[in-house]
């Protein structure tokens, strides 16, 4: 690892530093404000300064059966969509990495399409297709929708890792008498393990909060984001919504944080995070 030599940096002008700091605060402070509002005793408005402090809303939220159902549903959807993305994304990355075939470039394009096009396109496209085939909207139609845009996250992470892994290691393993399965188990898998973990965690976070595609592919199911969306347009339980929003931030924060940390350490170079 190179030492401090690359850190021979010019000093940033004060104005630039302040502007950069301001942007960082703009990105983060709004989320802290939600945390603050979980403590408000005020049920009907968003009055600031808060008229007092209470922690009772956490207890109230925990008692709500509808929230628990939504939370469980979102967890299940995210888990299965992530599993599907891990399998499909890794297979696609392995194929693109190991061979040169006709249409190879189009694979990346096809996989990135669900996140490059506005979410509403994916949502309504799936709705017309599922509706046109008379398939009832259910848990599984939500999972199918989520998997389309989760695959690319795993694919990008795993492909980036394959490209940094030397192909000679695989050849060495085969030369030393390991069969393909052993090579996969003892050489390839340990190498891509953290990339799978990072990709999987991001896919989970992405699916867990998704709302646009879900509004089109869900039937009567209320995922946690759909529950929050209902509260956004027609606020009925403001204090409970504050608690739920806080819980969602906390549930997604850890996987995102560790996924970014893993990618940063693996590349240990600047640039590309997504």
């Amino acid at each position: 690892m190179p030492s401090k030599s690359s850190d021979n940096l010019p000093k940033a002008p004060l104005g630039l530093t302040l502007a950069a700091l301001g942007t960082l605060l703009f990105l983060h402070v709004p989320m802290w404000i939600i945390f603050l509002y979980t403590l408000t005793p005020d049920e009907t408005t968003y009055t600031f300064p808060l008229p007092g402090f209470t922690t009772k809303w956490f207890g109230v939220a925990l008692q709500r059966a509808d929230l628990w159902r939504s939370l469980t549903l979102s967890m299940q959807v995210a888990a299965i969509a992530t599993l599907a993305a891990l399998i499909l994304g890794t297979l696609a990355a392995a194929a693109v990495y190991r061979s040169n075939f006709f249409g190879r470039e189009s694979i990346s394009f096809l996989l990135v399409l669900p996140i490059a096009l506005p979410g509403i396109v994916t949502g309504i496209a799936l709705r017309t297709a599922i509706g046109g085939l008379d398939i009832p909207f259910s848990f599984w139609t939500i999972v199918i929708g989520h998997a389309t845009f989760c695959v690319v996250v795993v694919y990008n992470n795993v492909l980036a890792r394959f490209r940094r892994t030397s192909g000679t290691m695989i050849e060495a393993s085969m030369d030393l008498g390991a069969n393909s399965f052993q090579t996969f188990r003892y050489v390839v898998l340990p190498n891509i393990a953290t990339a799978l973990l990072a990709g999987g965690m991001l896919a989970f976070a992405l699916s867990f909060d998704e709302v646009i595609v879900t509004t089109f592919t869900a039937g009567q199911q209320t995922t946690l984001p759909i529950w929050i969306f209902g509260q956004l347009s027609r606020p009925r339980d403001r204090p409970v919504t504050n608690v739920v929003a806080t819980i969602v931030i906390l549930i997604t924060f850890l996987p995102i944080f560790f996924a970014q940390k893993i990618s940063a350490e693996a590349s240990d170079t600047e640039g590309e995070t997504k």
Partner: protein, 301 residues
């Protein structure tokens, strides 16, 4: 046994490739492209005005409908919102991207990038919700504006036709702020990536040749960062174009594309019109992507 299977596959790399590729391709082509195709087909259907049933016959009637004045206005409104959001995001993103790329140590850089990507990945819905609290009439921003005695200018801003409203949380100005906030990380990362590729020696050469810092910035850094700005604008533009959550939460009765699609297919039950309306953003984005590729934006992604 396993060895025999292993050898069997080793000798047939084509077969292995096919085994690897089939599941993801099958999924993406059948489910995703298939759905897009069904969307396209539906946009050529129409709806029976009396029964409300979809008539499955080829017609351009539905497309004609999206060019009526009301829908044209929706396209204009959404397009200009996407444009202004993109411009302002680029202006706000640049200083931070520049700072990360050129003025931070390796350690600081890792942390700053994490600080930018956490909002990018974290719950979009919760981030919108945060602004519902902030922009509320009785909320923190009003309190702050009151503290600075700026109520007059705010009321004046809200009284402007077209962009004003009863309060910040129910006006196009509010929507604009939220869009800028929500998509900002998507602009920072590509600009930072582009700036990262500008070699330090180039900047030294520029100043050795007598350019003032401002000249170096204008004639060297800015042109080289431009592909990054274009790459970022793909996201900010596309995401604003298709969003319906922000207009539903903070907008008024004036529709945006996403909102129109949402209500046509939902309460309206008019899938063909919703499908035709969605083709708008698709066409705009395809054209946009083609132009962006010409400008070298894909290298900055």
């Amino acid at each position: 046994m396993l060895n025999r299977i292993s050898t069997f596959f080793y000798r047939r790399p084509g077969l292995v490739l096919a085994l690897f590729l089939t599941p993801p391709l099958l999924y993406m082509v059948v489910v995703y492209l298939g759905s897009l195709f069904s969307l396209l087909i539906n946009s050529f259907f129409s709806i029976d005005d009396f029964t409300g049933m979809v008539i499955r016959e080829f017609t351009l009637k539905t497309y004609a409908q999206i060019f009526n004045p009301a829908n044209r206005e929706i396209f204009m409104r959404t397009g200009s919102m996407a444009f202004f959001v993109t411009v302002v995001d680029a202006l706000i993103a640049f200083p931070l991207a520049y700072y990360i790329a050129k003025f931070s140590s390796r350690r600081l850089k890792t942390w700053l990038l994490i600080a930018v990507t956490i909002p990018l990945w974290s719950s979009y819905l919760v981030r919108v919700y945060a602004w519902k609290l902030i922009l509320a009439k009785e909320g923190i921003l009003s309190w702050f504006i009151n503290l600075l005695h700026l109520n007059g200018p705010l009321d004046w801003l809200l009284s402007l036709p077209g962009i004003g409203g009863s309060s910040l949380s129910l006006s196009p100005i509010g929507m604009f702020i939220v869009f800028v906030y929500i998509w900002l990380p998507y602009m920072i990362i590509p600009i930072q990536t582009a700036l990262e590729r500008v070699p330090g020696s180039l900047l030294e050469a520029s100043s050795d040749l007598g350019a003032k810092p401002y000249q170096t910035f204008r004639t060297v850094i800015l042109p080289l960062a431009f592909p990054g700005v274009v790459a970022g604008s793909i996201f900010t533009f596309s995401l604003t174009l298709g969003d319906f959550i922000v207009p539903l939460t903070l907008g008024n009765s004036k529709f945006f594309i996403g909102q129109a699609v949402y209500s046509y297919q939902g309460t309206g039950g008019n899938i063909p019109l919703a499908a035709a309306m969605t083709m708008g953003p698709v066409v705009i984005m395809v054209v946009y992507l083609l132009i962006a590729r010409k400008l070298g934006a894909f290298d900055a992604l």
